[in-house]
Amino acid sequence: MLAFILRRLLQSIAVLLTVGLVSFSLFRYVGDPINSMVGQDTPASEREALRERLGLNDAAPIQFLRFIGNAAQGKFGLSYRTSEPVGRMILERLPATLELSFCAAVFALFVGVPMGVYTGLYPKHWSSRLMQAVSLIGISLPTFVIGILLILVFAVWLHWLPSFGRGETVMLFGWWPTNFLTIKGLQALILPSITLGLFQLTLLMRLVRSEMLEVMRTDYIKFARARGLTNRAINFGHALKNTLVPVITVTGLQLGALIAFAIVTETVFAWPGVGQLFIQSVQFSDIPVMAAYLMLIGLLFVLINLTVDLLYFVVDPRLRSQGGAARVAGH
């Protein structure tokens, strides 16, 4: 097990270095960083001096190492657009995105999994068929369309919920603005969370449903029935637990996707998160911000994948015994 985790850690570092290389190339070779920093009429000698001072004349590998070293400390230079430190800009916006993604994930999990269980247990019931049909819409409608429809209904027609912004936030620990402590903040979360989470909800529901259908056909479920266990014990103990491994995998991957896809939702709802920041920086060719955003998303994906791998061990005893899958055959 330890070897497995070590292997995964090494893989994660390799992934991060690759992402780092991409964002370094973006940073260093797309456009000239010097051009973005100095005025039109700066003489060539001054440019050269700046180039030397910033280390842009060093060999590429050295520059890359320096970039990685700085990135590890959260230093991504100054934004071309606002001249603020990029690290701080991202940190200011990250809480908004994380809270939105978190709510979307909770919504997707706590609605999607029960719906999947229900439709898997009673596949022929009319309500299951209805959920299946509706979920197809959820999967095929683009996120921004869902967002706009929700705004139209709940903000424009009914005036129940705000259509943009974070509403009211409260500072936590002096630097984390949170939506969770005010009514207005919570209200502002609802529509964006649904918009962002709907796709993952339908995905989870369909996944749990098909896993459930499969598990219910297995011999150990039949044997559990023959032992006279209650339906409750069979459905929620034996069956649901056996659907967990794929559910954890997909939830993990989708959590990463949620944060990445937040770009669209944040744009539709004018949500002041890192996704919106990214869109702005694309419009202004603000390369340092884009590079930092890439690194951040890469880091989040890697962290989530590591967590997912560890959860496997918690759920599946076959992986826990030393050699992992190789020993499943028994001894």
């Binding site: 297995t218 011999d219 150990y220 039949k222 044997f223 559990a224 029935r225 023959a226 032992r227 006279g228 266990l229 209650t230 339906n231 014990a233 103990g237 034996h238 637990k241 056996n242 759920v315 599946d316 005893p317 076959r318 015994s321 020993r327 499943v328 028994g330 001894h331």
Partner: protein, 340 residues
């Protein structure tokens, strides 16, 4: 009835019919099957693949998979009718009064729960025991089925046991709430040949000690000869012959059983590999009128082509064959109508 029917049978199956509604009409997979099992008795059930053995067993434990359903007849356990009980009532009987062991014991255990947990949950479902009492009972059972180091093994997961050991755990699970009857559907088919005999011996010994009756479905005539008190031979959804195991093995009365028994070269041979009897069992959609066995029977007469025989006394057994009726098989069949 032959053996041990001095008082009430434990299980009575009367005119059981199991059918499957399909698009092309209803398939009658178990047709008018009747038999008894006495308390503590081992009834062997043999027959070719598709004869209806598993469906009969599943009907008894109330776990026919839809769209299959009991379409007629009665099943009584200790005099109480159980084939028409609501699901929840039948659930309380499963595990507690009737245990079951299925074809593949290797996949019968939930891989994500320790064997102890699976034992304890079964015990506590059916018996008013505390967690620690249930655990003590679980350890006791694991010892009884011959698992070394039961106190430690109880926390292990199924994948940490070999096939034979897992099978022992399955037997412990089937027995853990003290059922009166165990329906064992080919309990050793999936196991290594070298441990099959061990497992059957264990099952037999435990059931004798606990006074548990067994309906033992198997393809292995050797197992039947060694283990069963009585044997029922099934053919195309019906019982062809039933009687004390010695009589059926040595003095079979039904032509089909004779074919089966005549072709046992040694113990441990499976009936589905026997080629002694020409032809194959008809599919459910193609069962001929009259005796279902008539296309393969060398004794058949005109009567066999039109009239269906029910079980009738035949020496020390009961057989569904006109040879044992005073009316006989009817006029001989002319050569040309006989299929080569």
């Amino acid at each position: 009835m032959a053996a041990a029917s001095n008082n009430q049978p434990l299980l009575e199956v009367r005119n059981l019919r199991v059918e499957f509604p399909t698009r092309r009409g209803t398939l009658l997979a178990v047709d008018d099957v009747s038999f008894d099992i006495a308390p503590g008795e081992v009834l062997g059930v043999v027959g070719e693949s598709g004869a209806g053995k598993s469906l009969t067993g599943n009907a008894i434990i109330g776990l026919l998979e839809p769209p299959g359903r009991v379409a007629g007849g009665e099943i009584r356990l200790e005099g109480r009718r159980i084939d028409n009980l609501p699901y929840e009532e039948m659930r309380k009987i499963r595990g507690a009064r009737i245990g079951a062991i299925f074809q593949d014991p290797l996949t019968s255990l939930n891989p994500l729960y320790s064997v102890g947990r699976q034992l304890i949950e079964t015990i506590q479902t059916h018996m008013p025991l505390s967690a620690s009492q249930a655990k003590a009972r679980a350890i006791e059972l694991l010892k009884e089925v011959g698992i070394p180091g039961a106190e430690m093994r109880i926390d292990h997961y199924p994948h940490q046991f070999s096939g034979g050991m897992r099978q022992r755990v399955v037997i412990a699970l089937a027995l853990c709430a003290g059922p009166r009857l165990i329906v064992a559907d080919e309990p050793t088919t999936a196991l290594d040949v070298s441990i099959q005999a061990q497992i059957i011996a264990l099952l037999k010994r435990l059931c004798r000690e606990h006074g548990t009756a067994v309906m033992l479905v198997t393809h292995d005539m050797g197992v039947i000869a060694e283990t069963a008190d009585r044997v029922a031979v099934m053919y195309a959804g019906r019982v062809a012959e039933i009687g004390p195991v010695r009589e059926v093995v040595k003095h079979a009365k039904h032509p089909y059983t004779k074919g089966l028994m005549g072709s046992i070269p040694s113990l441990g041979v499976r009936t589905d590999r026997l080629t002694q009897i020409d032809g194959a069992m008809p599919r459910l959609t193609e069962i001929p009128p009259g005796c279902a066995f008539n296309p393969r029977c060398t004794f058949k007469g005109q009567r066999c082509l039109v009239e269906r025989p029910n079980l009738m006394p035949a020496g020390a057994t009961r057989a569904a064959c006109w040879l044992h009726d005073s009316g006989g098989v009817g006029a001989p069949i002319l050569k040309e109508t006989v299929d080569a």
